[in-house]
Symmetry: C2
Subunit: 118 residues, 2 copies
DNA sequence: TTAAAAGTTAGCCGTATGGCAAAGTTTTTC
DNA sequence: GAAAAACTTTGCCATACGGCTAACTTTTAA
């Protein structure tokens, strides 16, 4: 039926989850939580060559998680607050459905217990 | 300071986010939301060779998102409800901090506005 | 008892990822 | 105007990812 492949699939979730699937990048996000920072300020916390570090910045930026602008020779990074929403929404939606399944299981177990008691 | 590299890093978040960073795997999770299914039942919805599909199942399982057991020749897959929690928690924590940052920004703008009004 | 069903294993392929060092560019500072 | 700062580009590396086909194993059904 291949529905997914038919629906003009602007897949924002995949790059978003992928961007978060690395400790360095999550640390960057966490660091930016307390305010904007330059690339080198961010990089100081990570024992990594700058080009390697920049790849992480790029990936976060391409996923929309952060933005950046350059003023003079320094590039400053900012969080993009709405970016995490799709991920949160997906997780919430699925968890809710799982919860529903658990509820149904619980209900079934209850019913079974009632039956076996009789 | 490299704190992260020192703290006996049971990184569950990275494989978890990585597992969700693929449409096929998210579809599997969604499909299992309405009940347990065998590998081939799940695979029917995806135009993909079985070995390729099994890799997705394996990755979900290694990330703890699903479990499976084999009865006879059929392997049945189940959701593992608590698995998504760490991802949700991380997103919630960060979003909250971002919200805080936004609040502080708003407060700052308000303060600035008050100053300029005087 | 053979044949089909349902996975599984092995091996190959091209691209992406996460790392590096070295050299280049643009600003800023002295 | 030279030198330092702050990236940026280039190019390399090993491993992981996401896909395939072909061949194999185990269970079930005819």
């Amino acid at each position: 039926m291949y529905l997914l492949s038919r629906m003009a699939n602007h897949d924002t979730l995949s790059p978003l989850f992928a961007a978060l699937a690395d400790p360095t990048r999550r640390a960057i996000v966490a660091a930016l939580g307390s305010g904007n920072k330059s690339v080198s300020e961010l990089a100081n916390d990570h024992d990594m060559a700058l080009p390697s570090f920049l790849k992480h910045i790029d990936k976060l930026e391409r996923a929309g998680v952060i933005t950046s602008h350059k003023a003079g020779r320094v590039r400053t990074c900012h969080l993009n607050p709405p970016a995490l929403r799709p991920a949160q929404d997906w997780l919430t939606r699925e968890s809710t459905r799982w919860g529903g399944a658990l509820d149904r299981l619980a209900a079934h177990l209850d019913a079974t217990e009632q039956e076996t008691k009789q």
